[in-house]
């Protein structure tokens, strides 16, 4: 684990809440090596989601440097960030966030609409991603016709389809029963181990965190400790 996929230096993030200014991250620094699978834990309001948004290029810091997949994100505008996201990161959300009116295959195809791939190539890639997450048989189903675990697999396939180097997962198992959760976490493990995807996952669930290689704990906008797990 030589090269860092994520590198943050003295990152400050403040939010204006009415007249009050809340400093969510106060000079945070962090390195995540390429190929890592990090579980980010901590109580509500500790800054996990803010950190995740900064790593994923959804938000920009007030100061500090953020380099993800070799790109200085703190210097990019919103348009460049959007292009960067489509090439380098995949997102998985707690509530799947699938388009309700599109079937699984169309949902997975969405990120590919931003590429120059032909229609048939897009379709093939979407099916390949669905096969990878083990849900190709549900390709024509709409989100409402899928179970929670199946929907999250589709969401993971959507995150994977453009072949990003980094997967960002925000409470991916927060809405799932234990069995489905374990299946999804196992899938993430395979993606990390066999397909070389770096993963940053926010979770409340210690059992979920055990699937990661490493756990990071946050509180009040700072990292508490860094541990490694097999």
């Amino acid at each position: 684990m030589s090269e860092a996929i994520v590198s943050m230096r003295n990152v400050v993030k403040r939010y204006e809440r009415g007249k009050q200014t809340v400093e969510v991250l106060n000079g945070l620094s962090l390195d995540i090596p390429k190929g890592d699978f990090v579980a980010l834990m901590g109580p509500s309001g500790s800054g996990k989601t803010t950190l995740l948004n900064l790593i994923g290029g959804l938000d920009t810091p007030n100061s500090g440097e953020i380099t993800v997949a070799g790109q200085r994100l703190d210097r990019l505008g919103s348009g460049a960030l959007a292009r960067w996201r489509s090439n380098h990161v995949g997102f998985v959300f707690q509530f799947y966030n699938l388009m309700p009116m599109l079937n699984a295959e169309r949902n997975v195809e969405l990120p590919l609409l931003l590429t120059h791939l032909s229609g048939s190539k897009r379709k093939a890639n979407a099916l390949a991603a669905l096969t990878l997450v083990g849900i190709a048989d549900r390709a024509k189903h709409k989100p409402a016709e899928l179970s929670g675990g199946q929907a999250q697999r589709v969401a993971i396939a959507r995150a994977l389809v453009a072949d990003p180097t980094l997967l960002i997962c925000d409470e991916p198992t927060g809405d799932l029963d234990r069995k489905s959760a374990d299946e999804v976490l196992h899938l993430l493990q395979i993606l990390n181990r066999d397909h070389g995807k770096s993963i940053v996952m926010v979770t409340h669930d210690p059992k979920a965190a055990e699937f990661a290689r490493r756990q990071l704990h946050m509180d009040k906008g700072a990292l508490l400790e860094a541990g490694t797990l097999a």
């Binding site: 948004n53 994923g56 959804l58 938000d59 919103s78 348009g79 959007a82 292009r83 960067w84 996201r85 489509s86 090439n87 997102f91 959300f93 707690q94 509530f95 966030n97 388009m99 309700p100 009116m101 599109l102 169309r106 969405l110 990120p111 609409l113 931003l114 229609g119 897009r122 959507r158 453009a162």
Partner: protein, 388 residues
């Protein structure tokens, strides 16, 4: 084009709402098509006298005042006038006053020479017409309408002209043949017309002998028409019967204008319709974008740029409006035959429908822009947080 399935699926996200919105817009464009067609027809009237080479000479002070038949020879002598013919308003109906018949006493040779090649008359019937003093050529549509046949004797009631012989207003004609307009756009303008002999009319009438309603001229060079018209009017400038000569199209237009500003009325109606429609469609689009805030945020996390999201919403609005406009305009096209029967003598042109597509695009942009801007400015972090 690759975004089409996404836009299409998004459009039908709430089926009922989209269908109702679509139907409202369809209705608006149906109305647009119908009213625009009528407006177009009124703005491009046809007097049944066509061509830039035709002039019409009427009494300067009143269309009801007659002109001496002898003017024809003087008009004919004006350089540039190829032919002149004279016609009189006969004010006829068949049996009941609602069965209006546009019966015209014509001078056969000059009439068919002014209107060269404009009518299709079978040659044997033309011969029969020339040979029959009481003969009449009937437009084939009118013949069919009243169930007449060639060979029938048909009485027409004139509301103006009494007969010298018995003071009667009823004139009887022998149908010797039919005619059709060669130019199909003239078909409805000619659909009530009956042509009969001026000689029979002039000899038969009890008053007004030697006086005619108006003259129609064909000029050799249409570009000199205005000049020729001025020369004709100059001929009679100080006579008791001053004339007013104008291109046939202007004559028709000024007559139609007398009905009032129909265009204004139609546009006022359409204004009200589209104003209400703006609210309806705009509200639907806004509501729909507001409901999909999380979905739009997800698209942005996937890497869709702000501009692309704006375009997606605008495209959806465009798709909705264009789809509805095409259906609405197609429906109004289908109603053309009905309007045509209601507004007799008016030729309708489908080309009035084309601006409807432009209106659809404008409508789509106006109603689509506010929600599209909202979608564009949507902050991903806030929008995703809403969901939790």
């Amino acid at each position: 084009m690759k975004f089409f399935p996404l836009i299409w699926a998004t459009l039908w996200r709430k089926k009922t709402r989209t269908i109702f919105t679509l139907l409202s817009i369809v209705v608006a464009f149906l109305l647009f098509g119908v009213l625009e067609t009528i407006d177009y027809a009124f703005a491009h009237p046809s007097s049944g006298v066509t061509g830039a080479d035709k002039l019409i000479t009427t009494n300067k002070y009143s269309i009801t005042l007659l002109l001496p038949y002898s003017d024809a020879a003087e008009i004919h002598a004006v350089p540039g006038v190829a032919e002149v013919t004279w016609i009189t308003w006969f004010g006829a109906y068949y049996q009941e006053s609602k069965n209006f018949v546009f019966a015209l006493p014509i001078d056969t040779d000059s009439y068919f020479n002014v209107h060269k090649d404009e009518f299709i008359v079978p040659e044997n019937q033309m011969r029969a017409f020339r040979g029959t003093r009481t003969g009449a050529l009937v437009n084939s549509a009118l013949l069919k309408k009243h169930g007449w046949k060639v060979g029938d004797k048909v009485p027409l009631h004139s509301t103006i002209w009494t007969q010298k012989a018995d003071g009667s207003l009823d004139w009887t004609f022998d149908i010797v043949g039919t005619f059709d307009a060669r130019d199909p756009t003239q078909a409805s303008a000619q659909a009530q017309t009956v042509l009969f002999h001026y000689e029979m009319f002039d000899e038969g009438r009890s008053f007004g002998k030697g006086e005619v309603g108006w003259f129609e001229e064909r000029v050799t060079d249409p570009s000199k028409a205005a000049d020729i018209a001025a020369r004709i009017d100059a001929l009679f400038a100080n006579s008791p019967n001053e004339t007013k000569t104008q291109p046939a199209n202007d004559f028709a237009l000024s007559f139609i204008k007398q009905f009032g500003d129909i265009g204004f009325v139609l546009r006022a109606i359409l204004g009200a319709v589209f104003f209400a429609l703006l609210f309806l469609t705009g509200n639907t689009m806004m509501q729909s974008v507001r409901e999909r805030t999380p979905e739009l945020a997800v698209l942005k996390t996937l890497g869709f740029g702000d501009g692309q999201v704006l375009e997606l919403v605008l495209a959806e609005s465009l798709l909705l409006c264009a789809l509805a406009a095409v259906i609405g305009l197609a429906l109004s096209y289908a109603t053309l035959p009905v309007i045509k029967t209601a507004l007799q003598g008016i030729e309708l042109s489908p080309s009035a429908l084309l601006p409807g597509l432009g209106v659809a695009v404008a409508l789509a942009l106006v109603v689509g822009l506010p929600p599209a801007l909202r979608a564009m400015r949507l902050n991903i972090v806030d929008a995703l947080a809403d969901k939790h």
